[in-house]
């Protein structure tokens, strides 16, 4: 399991302890904002900006959590988020990996130029192109539909680039052997390369899911009715122009973060799933 540059070394105990302490301190620092977020979600509004500031609530309350369900159709927003982020993740993972396979394993004229085009797709920010994108979606009659939300996101230059790099790291011996045995490219893609890319695919899946789960503007731009709203758009309802309902937002943020966190913990299993033990040693 895993690969290690440190293990099985004498005298490495001290090194491990030092590393562990460093990691723990970093973890505490990284965690602090989340601790405040979660604890604030249990504070009554009067406690949030009390001075002197305190991390721990003076009074614990579940009010924010009960209120938020009454105030907005959380379940509906939640389902929309799952459908949107879930479908984009699955479809994009498939299309990204297909394209990445072509860039990594197939040789044909124009490949490098096409790859440069993929890179170019990363280079113009959405803030510049959002009006033309909107007009395109509209002209295809896809406004206010899940199709309009999902199809433009069904492939992703970042994902193609990332998977190409990972595929390039997989030794060619394996697929060459399969090719000699007469396997088709699709067979090599699906039976050789993908099974060896567990960590990369899991990582990309988490990225896609997370990015679309948190995306606020795109769904807002494409959908018009309240039934189509997703979770971030729902939470934004508590951010008044002048008056932010901190307790409610923090409760909503905690609820929105939880599924992502669970998804991540689940995907972790695949991050460490190693790989190449299957075939390389021969």
């Amino acid at each position: 399991m895993g690969t290690s540059i440190l293990s099985h070394q004498r005298g490495s105990r001290l090194f491990f302890t030092a590393t562990w302490i460093f990691l723990a301190i970093a973890a505490a620092a990284i965690l602090l904002p989340f601790v405040w977020m979660v604890l604030t979600s249990f504070k009554p509004e009067s406690d949030v900006f009390a001075y002197p500031p305190r991390l721990w609530p003076n009074i614990w309350t579940l009010e924010n959590y009960t209120d938020i369900w009454q105030q907005i159709p959380m379940l509906r927003f939640f389902i929309n988020s799952v459908v949107f982020a879930g479908s984009v993740t699955i479809i994009s993972l498939f299309l990204d990996s297909l394209a990445a396979y072509a860039f990594s394993r197939l040789k044909f004229p124009g490949r490098d130029i096409l790859f440069l085009f993929v890179l170019i797709a990363l280079m113009l920010p959405f803030q510049v192109t959002f009006i033309p994108v909107y007009v395109t979606v509209q002209s295809m009659g896809l406004l206010n539909s899940f199709a309009g939300l999902i199809i433009p996101r069904a492939t992703n230059a970042f994902g193609i680039f990332m998977l190409r790099q990972f595929f390039n790291g997989i030794p060619h011996e394996l697929d060459d052997a399969a090719r000699i045995d007469g396997a088709t490219e699709f067979y090599i893609y699906s039976r050789v390369i993908l099974p060896l890319s567990g960590p990369a695919l899991a990582t990309l899946a988490v990225f896609h899911f997370m990015y679309n789960w948190n995306d606020f503007l795109w769904p807002l731009l494409i959908t018009k009715t309240t039934e189509m709203r997703n979770l971030p758009a729902g939470l934004a309802l508590f951010m008044g122009q002048h008056n932010i309902e901190y307790g409610l937002i923090m409760a909503g943020a905690t609820l929105a973060l939880l599924p992502l966190f669970i998804a991540f913990l689940f995907a972790q299993k695949y991050f460490v799933q190693s790989i190449v033990m299957t075939g390389l040693k021969e």
């Binding site: 509004e45 009067s46 509209q138 539909s145 199709a147 199809i151 731009l221 002048h242």
Partner: protein
Amino acid sequence: MQRKSVRNMLSIALVMAIAMLTVPFGAEAQSPVVITFWNGFTGPDRPTVEALVAEFNAAHADIQIDMTITPWDSLYQTLLGAMSAGEGPDLVGFNFNYVLQYAESGLIMDISDWFEEGSNLDLENWPPALVERLQYDGKFYAVPMNFATLLMYYNLDIFTEVGLDPENPPADWDTWIEALRTITEAGYYGIAIGERQTIPNWPILLWGNGADVIVDGKSGLATPEAIEALELWGGLVRDEEISPFGLTGAEADQLFQSGRAAMGITGPWMVNGFLEAGVNFDVTPIPTGPAGPVTLADSVVFVVNASTTHEEEVKTFLDFWNSYDAQITWSAGTGFPPARLDLSDSPDLYEANPWAAKFAAVVPYSRFFMGGQRHYTEIENDIFVPMIQSITQGVSSVEEAATRADEQLTRLLAQDD
């Protein structure tokens, strides 16, 4: 091999098609006329907007208002996208400052003939300053949705603690400055002044001294009155630290809410938040400067998409919104003063929400900041706010900052000639 790749392509297409078909599409319009309506009343005002819309929908079987509330930033961005493509909602509520640009481009409807004497859409109902903001080029394009004025909030406990009379808050600049100094010496901030990302605070201080950003279509930033006001208040912030510098509106409110600042200048929307947070406070008119009493007015207005096919239904809704009862409900729920003048001294209003009545009391001398000014956003963000910031952060002297801003503003205004 080739047949295989064709098959692969087909299977890809199939997978995509299935994925598209299995996800549900949005609900289609039903028999009643559906009016789409966007506004930015997120936060604590939202329940009241929703209640009024629900009340209207319940009373009109043939009209259905489908309302989308998003934060203002996102509303303006999505509106930009939608309107560029000829889409967009039937009805929008947005800040009065946008009327000019949208009216000029023909994107919103000329509704001059909707205003009728004696109806709920009677121009006599509203303060003249507000009526002026509903127009562009002599025609009417907007109907008031809300109206707000600013008051000074002050913390009763801090006043008592430092020996000021909480019953008698400062009413003019001299006593105000004295109080600010007393409080600051006692270890609090005298006041939390919002500098950026805020409902304008600094312009009120200029107005109090008889200055303004634009006077008769020309820059007023380097006039003696303006420099005097900037020297006075800039000095108080920079040297005497009566307020932290660089506060956003939200930070200023938090500072007041935490009990670290004794005063703050903001609108009716904070009343409920401060009450809920347990702050012991009251509101009072902003102390009168040498030039007489003044405060800032702000308004969200309804505008109608020029491409709507449901004018009558939209008009019915706007009429309902400006009715006596709906306005009372609005004020009761949000603490905003009603836009209608005939309501501002009504006992019904006081009974519905005494705070709203206090905000209504200063309507007569309230002013819109740069109303009807085409370059509003640029002037505020690129000229006015940086000027204040370089003064309060001590980056440049008042003289320098004001002169530079004056030059920039003069150049910008000259573009229109």
